[in-house]
Symmetry: C2
Subunit: 228 residues, 2 copies
Amino acid sequence: MMNSNFKLSNRDRAVLMKTPFLTSLSGNSLMRMISVMSVISLTNRKSIFREGENADAFYCVLSGYVRLYQLNRDGREADIRICSPGDTFAECLLYGGTKYRYHAQTAEATTLARFDMQAVRDLAEQERDIAKAVITSLSKHLMTTMDCVANDRLHTAPQRVANYILTRCPVDGGPASIRLPFQKNLLAGMLGLAPEALSRAFSTLRRTGVTVRGRVIQVGDVQALREI
Amino acid sequence: MMNSNFKLSNRDRAVLMKTPFLTSLSGNSLMRMISVMSVISLTNRKSIFREGENADAFYCVLSGYVRLYQLNRDGREADIRICSPGDTFAECLLYGGTKYRYHAQTAEATTLARFDMQAVRDLAEQERDIAKAVITSLSKHLMTTMDCVANDRLHTAPQRVANYILTRCPVDGGPASIRLPFQKNLLAGMLGLAPEALSRAFSTLRRTGVTVRGRVIQVGDVQALREI
DNA sequence: ATCTGGTTTTGACATCGATCAAATCTGTAG
DNA sequence: CTACAGATTTGATCGATGTCAAAACCAGAT
């Protein structure tokens, strides 16, 4: 399950270096961050941590996907966030609390970089550029989370799906084709929808020239999709 | 409208000092932060900034309330966040972008501390404790925003209202009485509800021993409310 | 090529919350 | 105390989405 970091694949290493956390660091700070990091590989549907546990690490997804979720009183699960390669999670506990606030589990075979919370806290105090990296990461994360609230409150299911598609389409107005990087299940969670609702949203979008076959989504007219 | 900062009331000054941004700062850093700050007083329903404008400042609410919201294509408004005294907003743009991502307007007569974005950016680079204060503020803010997503996705309207009430109740299980610090309108926006839905949620909670008269909410049994 | 388990779609239905309109309440200024 | 404007509640209705069950689809293993 747990590997030391020289086991990193090239692809994983590239993702790691592009993380907001590491991408701006100078050689020395980078070394120090990597020294408090370990690499973990997990198969699908493995728990990373559970709500209420002591928060002694935060993570960065290198490959695969991670689902952050909470349970309500009846045991129904709701996804709060789906983390893709390059995303960091639980880093808000660096200065914000001592217990995890939600469950985290893999949603595919996944490789993670694990950062010891206390060690990074100490590093951020010492190295200016590490503090800055923390700030950048938190800022970005906060913005996408606020966007998520706005999206939930403002848009219907087909609109959310259209938005998602548009964010991965070439910018021009013509036809386009994209491939989902994961199961529809996950996309549903990302958009705050039940899987059935996602499916129905896709079929609503057929009227707007969106064709779905497996993981491949074809858009007849990107511009038309914007109007939804 | 705009005052220099020696016009601060005692109460506003106390709020300002308890802000995550300033509360932990040493004398020198505190001085420098205050030197890039100005105080602004606005009456109800005044725009503070608009989506898409150049983000050259972030703000801390000293008294009153601020509504952050976006518009959808049909012009319907949805609140993203209601900021209370002590809350900071738009600070995620310190390192996260150059334009405001939503509208901000006062929801009452309001006093704000305004921080020049570029100046704080520079200060955070120089003073370690200012960087740390930024991190703390962002962390807290990120956590509450994630809680907001979870709350929206997981709980029904009466549950959200019950949650809200519980967060301002004494912890024990007996009866309690609280007073809303603002109009129900704002509470609705905070919970992601239409005002009518909030009203109906209150009337659902009557069955659980919650009585509402104007801004005063009486809870027969705090423990019972937790079970909702 | 076929089987098999898991994923996705479809159908039927129940529920929640939004919307619009009208009635009622509240607080404030005369 | 009264009147008024604004806030809140209530009623009626509608649309969107969750839920459960069953059918269809798909991909990997044999």
